[in-house]
């Protein structure tokens, strides 16, 4: 079952409904599916939470994931784990879920669309200064762009844009290329190799979700703590 044709590079091109500027394509539909899955799954898992020593498998899994994300965030920031956790956690879970279901025939990862990854990157692009300003104040945050001297301001600005672009293109490129490789392999050697590539795809999807979340956290950490670290750096 082929939703996205081999010559179509993005699920954005699979338009299901269009009216005026409103366009419902495969990217959006699969994103809603993933969202619904995550929310319903969360409701089911957290319906009967146990605070004792015995707990359900799903609760155990979710606790492992949540504790892992919190631990990773905690490694980068000294305080405010709970402030960044919902944002970073949501990005991680959405990208992870989007990537992992690629082994289901007919499913197309929303993250293989540049629109989705751009949306994710733009969110990071705006979230980083928001957290930085919330933590340090506007002036202190803006001063970071002029450190160590004002000459570095354009480079800082370019860095902001380039890393946002890099975030979007890295995720999109990996997922899209993987899907195209699978499609080509299915056409060339329909047995064995596509299965191996699917397994590899699961690993790639996991790693990309991790990278996206970690980089987001690194950017947030650098925006909220760079000045403090500079001040406390031993001479």
């Amino acid at each position: 079952m082929e939703v996205v044709a081999i010559n179509q590079i993005s699920p954005d091109q699979v338009i299901l409904f269009a009216w005026s500027f409103v366009t419902i394509n495969a990217t959006l539909v699969y994103s809603w599916l993933i969202m619904a899955l995550l929310v319903i799954g969360s409701l089911l898992v957290t319906r009967n939470l146990s605070t004792d020593r015995t707990l359900s498998r799903w609760q155990n899994l979710m606790e492992v994931i949540v504790a892992g994300i919190r631990s990773e965030i905690g490694d980068m920031v000294k305080e405010g784990v709970n402030t960044y956790f919902p944002f970073v956690g949501t990005l991680f879970l959405f990208i992870l879920a989007s990537n992992l279901f690629t082994f289901i025939p007919g499913y197309v990862a929303p993250t293989s669309s540049l629109t989705t990854t751009a949306a994710l990157s733009i969110m990071v692009f705006f979230a980083v200064p928001m957290y930085g300003i919330a933590k340090q104040g506007v002036l202190e945050y803006l001063k970071e762009y002029f450190r160590p001297t004002f000459i570095f301001f354009p480079f800082h600005v370019m860095g902001e844009f380039s890393r946002t672009l890099a975030l979007a293109v890295r995720l999109f490129g990996n997922l899209m290329s993987h899907e195209k490789v699978i499609a080509i392999l299915l056409a060339v050697t329909p047995l064995f190799f596509p299965v191996v590539m699917q397994i590899l795809g699961l690993l790639i999807g996991l790693i990309q979700a991790y990278i996206f979340a970690i980089l987001t956290m690194v950017y947030i950490a650098s925006a909220t703590q760079s000045h403090e670290e500079t001040e406390h750096k031993p001479k």
Binding site: I9, S10, D12, F21, V22, T23, N25, T27, L28, S31, W32, M35, L38, V39, S42, L43, V45, T46, L49, S50, T51, D52, Q59, M62, E63, V66, A67, R70, N82, F85, P86, F87, G89, T90, L91, L93, F94, P110, S113, L114, T115, T116, A118, A119, L120, I122, M123
Partner: protein, 257 residues
């Protein structure tokens, strides 16, 4: 490769909604459950630590009690040993005293028995010697023992000078009595002969009385106011007794050896 701006903004809104829902239905609840569990575990750890401290305190108290008990036990044992030693000493002392008492009583009884025996022996020997002497004198010399004794007494009486005789009779005293004692009944003829022989030497107011006395062992005794003239076989008996006692001791020594 293009970006659909409607989808782009829709995705942003989608993600914001998803973030809100996940925060509400997943992150908050899971973190709350984990925190609650952590608090429970911390409380249990605290409880366990408290219990451990209590147990350690109780163990220390038990250890102290045990040591006290052991010390008291040791003290009681020592006290019991001392009491037993003292009781043993008392028993030994008591036994020693009883042994001494029994020994003394036995010695006393033995001595008394020996004296009784010797007394009886003396009595018996005196009587026998007296009887034998009488018979020997009668058979060999045709003499009477009592008469010979009277002769001896009279000879002694006669041999006394005036001064001694007066002293014997306690001169100046009136109504005196001379008592003649004998272990046997003095025959009347002997009494008469003695009377006839002694009266000439006596003042008129002095009476002569005769009595039988066990104290005078096989002999005669002339007694007046504390003075006496006597003959008996007592000296012979004493000599015999001494020899007899010496022979007994010698036999006892030989048996002991």
């Amino acid at each position: 490769m293009h970006i659909d701006w409607f989808v782009f903004f829709s995705q942003i809104v989608n993600l914001l909604i998803l973030m809100f829902l996940l925060k509400k239905f997943l992150f908050g609840r899971i973190v709350g459950a984990m925190d609650a569990r952590e608090a429970k575990i911390a409380a249990r750890f605290a409880e366990a630590e408290r219990s451990q401290e209590e147990a350690e305190t109780a163990a220390a108290a038990c250890e102290r009690k045990l040591q006290d008990l052991e010390a008291r036990h040791e003290e009681m044992l020592n006290q019991a040993r001392r009491d037993a030693e003292a009781y043993r000493e008392r028993l030994l002392e008591k036994a020693r005293e009883e042994v001494d008492f029994l020994k003394n009583r036995w010695s006393e009884a033995l001595r008394s028995e020996r004296e009784n025996f010797l007394q009886e022996l003396r009595q018996l020997a005196g009587n026998q010697i007296y009887a034998i002497t009488r018979r020997v004198l009668k058979d060999l010399a045709g003499l009477d023992l009592e008469e010979r004794i009277v002769d001896v007494l009279l000879t002694r009486w006669v041999a006394l000078d005036e001064e001694e005789r007066r002293r014997f009779l306690s001169e100046g005293a009136e109504g005196q009595q001379i008592t003649v004692s004998c272990a046997y009944e003095i025959p009347a003829d002997i009494q008469r002969r003695f009377q006839e022989s002694i009266v000439p030497y006596l003042p008129e107011d002095v009476e002569v009385a005769y009595e039988r006395s066990e104290d005078v062992l096989s002999g005669w005794e002339l007694r007046a106011d504390g003075h006496k003239i006597a003959w008996s076989i007592k000296d012979y008996i004493d000599s015999l007794e001494e020899r007899f006692y010496g022979a007994l001791q010698e036999a006892a020594q030989e048996r002991k050896a």
